[in-house]
Symmetry: C2
Subunit: 229 residues, 2 copies
């Protein structure tokens, strides 16, 4: 069945038997989500969690004045909204589709029953949450200990690692959302990109394409060993 193939592509479910995947499929429902739709809200009661079959979902917090901090952008194969399955009853942030998406939903109680009978499922889940904690520790470090140019530099290096030509990269978000991911605002991001261009560290090709001209300087920026003039 198609659903089982989708489940098997989720890393969290790696190493599970076909029987177990079938059991999971039996409790799974799939939902199409249009771009811009809020899947759940901060503080909302949770009945289960999600995984992405297609599309991308941003997880974010909002300030009272409406400023947004993106915590995570998840793509195909990644799960989200698991926290209230295991502690607390409410989602800790907002989730919104930033592309037309197809998400799979797993109801809480039924999923917990499966965990009790299948330790590998628990270990996959633990690995998943652990990776996320590691990612958050890094995000906190960036927000608290680096200035915006350093955060941007680190992000550019991160993106450049996962492209064919390691010196030409495509931004995965528009600049407003990239600003939100980096804990700043579009104006500041724009200015810093301009400064990095003027100092010959990067070159802006398309609106979404960046060429790295001076990788070493960008690495120094990301490590706090240098600052923009």
């Amino acid at each position: 069945m198609d659903l089982i193939r989708k489940l098997s592509q989720i890393p969290m479910f790696d190493g599970l038997s076909n029987e177990m995947l079938t059991e999971i499929a039996a409790i799974t429902t799939a939902h199409e989500v249009p771009k811009g739709k809020v899947i759940f809200s901060d503080g909302e009661e949770a009945n289960g969690f999600y995984a992405i079959a297609e599309g991308r979902i941003k997880i974010y917090k909002l300030s009272p004045e409406g400023k947004e901090q993106i915590l995570h952008v998840f793509g195909p194969g990644e799960a989200f909204g698991e926290v209230p399955v295991f502690s607390g009853r409410h989602f800790p942030a907002y989730a919104e589709a930033i592309e037309p998406s197809l998400v799979l939903f797993f109801p809480k109680e039924k999923f917990i029953s499966l965990i009790k009978s299948e330790p590998m499922l628990a270990l996959g889940m633990l690995a998943d949450l652990s990776r996320r904690l590691r990612y958050f520790a890094n995000l906190i470090e960036n927000l608290s200990l680096k200035e915006v140019p350093g955060r941007l530099a680190a992000h550019l290096l991160y993106l450049s690692e996962r492209q064919e030509d390691s010196n030409e990269l495509t931004l995965d978000l528009n600049k407003t959302q990239l600003a939100s991911l980096l804990g700043t605002i579009p104006e500041t991001l724009s200015r810093i990109l301009a400064r990095m261009t003027k100092e010959g560290l990067i070159e802006l090709l398309d609106n979404r394409q960046v060429r790295i001209l001076d990788r070493e300087s960008i690495e120094e920026l990301a490590n706090g060993e240098r600052r923009l003039g």
Copy 2:
């Protein structure tokens, strides 16, 4: 045995049978840690994780210039250093005793074997990591979306909830470390406490004692509905 009593007081191990506690005890070692001792460092390879029997441990990141961001302060009954047990091989931050402490150590592979045979242990672990993710989401929100007065106000309210007299509270850290927990520096914290005092929101008694004089205004500060004059 004394070790089993200590294990039974760790919330992560709630609901486990005596036999299982005995099995855990068989792989546990206890270690005294003097105040100021670094238990593990960011990036160091991990062989297992820890839980606190007595004392307090801070988990933190350092910038190249030596600025510190505290991620967590853990006390008796709390576990730390679990992330590399389930994903990655290295600790994601530093851990240091801020009081003379007694910590329990659980070796990685042996602990994973126990998890495979006891689903309740996995669920306790999952609840633990989930709580931590929730806490981190909150910390990120504070760092990114609130100014320092708002972060301090939120922390004072948090402390006041867990004291007998809800309007008189004891800071759990010295001010240098409190600044580090709030993502700022001692000078800034000092100034903001002075401003809150001048505006009649709080009164500083001892160096560690704070009396809340105007709780409503502090709540508004914490919610970003108000700012200091």
